[in-house]
């Protein structure tokens, strides 16, 4: 069957230590037209992403050697060794990976857990068992992050006063996205300011 692909499908890396769950998430993702890679642990996920546990905090060059770009990472929370939360932290600590949207899955509905993940930078939290209807929530996060990435590239290009305009994101709505994403960046920066330095009034 000849299929003319107009664009490469988005690639999702799914992390889950449970074999039946891996099969399920893979099927859910494939049914939703994603390209899927599944791994059974956080450390294997990091390996696939091209970073190693020990040097995750440093700027990683390995990630640029990835054969296939990863557009989103979806991971189980409860895993032996490295939990989904630990994996999330490592991804956010990596300058080359932090912009990849991360979704956490868990069979337990624990608000403090959910909040902790979202605060650490997870884009979405799915309660297991994950359903087909949950899959439609993934693409917006991928597109949001891509537009943010392209707007950053635009800014860098302007700084360098580059002549060439090789920009992959030809989406006409990019401008509005980049405005809002830049604004969001500014807000993010404010949130990072250390709270403890503020004077406390009793």
């Amino acid at each position: 069957m000849a299929v003319v692909a107009t664009e490469t499908p988005f690639h999702v890396l799914a992390v889950d230590d449970s074999l039946p769950d891996r099969k399920l998430i893979e099927r859910l993702l494939k049914t939703s037209s994603f390209q899927v890679t599944t791994v059974d642990s956080g450390s294997k996920a990091l390996q696939f992403l091209g970073i190693h546990d020990d040097d995750a905090s440093t700027v990683s060059v390995h990630a640029h050697q990835l054969d296939v770009a990863v557009n989103l990472i979806i991971t189980d929370y409860c895993m032996p060794g490295m939990t989904g939360y630990d994996l999330l932290k490592k991804i956010k600590e990596s300058s080359s990976l932090r912009d990849i949207p991360v979704v956490i899955m868990s069979s337990e509905n624990i608000p403090s857990r959910i909040n902790r993940c979202l605060e650490e930078g997870a884009d979405e939290f799915f309660l297991k068992p994950v359903r087909l209807s949950d899959m439609s929530k993934l693409k917006p996060h991928i597109l949001k992050s891509r537009c943010r990435e392209h707007s950053q590239q635009d800014q860098e290009q302007q700084h360098q006063q580059s002549d060439s305009n090789s920009n992959d994101c030809s989406n006409p709505t990019n401008k509005s996205h980049s405005d809002s994403s830049r604004k969001r960046k500014a807000e993010d920066n404010e949130e990072i300011l250390p709270q403890k330095n503020r004077p406390r009034h009793s």
Binding site: L19, P20, K23, L24, C78, S107, P129
Partner: protein, 151 residues
């Protein structure tokens, strides 16, 4: 081969599995994911569950026999079991796992032992029933989903 009769059997069996609480809505979700590109998906994922859960049952049994019992580890094993059980819609199994976890929490060894026996029975029963169900499905020929008309 009487396909009408077979189909009726399949529908009736599935209804009974749901009515008796062996399966829940998640099983329907699995069947919805099955199509021409993945014609044996449900049977495959169920097979993976039974393979995985058999291993877990053995580990749980071993962990219970160890002295002193490591309730933290026991809870973790049952948690895994519960998770994958819920992924295939195994309702009774899921509920029995919750009971087991409660016993772990109370450090109630006898409760855990009783729960394990129940889990093993439920596990064997569900396996047998689903094997029959898939056998019936295969008999009607190319992949056919049981009709959800009675939902």
């Amino acid at each position: 081969m009487d396909y009408t009769n077979l189909r009726r059997q399949i529908i009736s069996m599935k209804k009974s599995l749901f009515d008796q609480g062996y399966l829940d809505e998640q099983f329907n979700q699995l069947e919805e994911l099955q199509d021409d590109s993945s014609p044996n998906f449900v049977e495959e994922v169920v097979a993976l569950f039974f393979k995985d859960s058999s291993r877990l049952l053995t580990n749980i049994e071993q962990a219970l026999e160890k002295y002193p019992q490591d309730f933290y580890r026991l809870d973790s094993l049952v948690h895994q079991f519960k998770g994958s059980g819920s992924s295939i819609g195994a309702l009774r199994m899921k509920n029995e796992c919750s009971m087991f976890k409660a016993h772990c929490n109370d450090r109630n060894l006898e409760g855990c032992r009783r729960s394990l026996q129940k889990m093993k029975r439920e596990h064997a029963t569900l396996k047998q029933k689903l094997e029959t169900y898939f056998h019936l499905l295969r008999q009607v020929g190319p992949p056919e989903r049981a009709v959800n008309s009675w939902k």
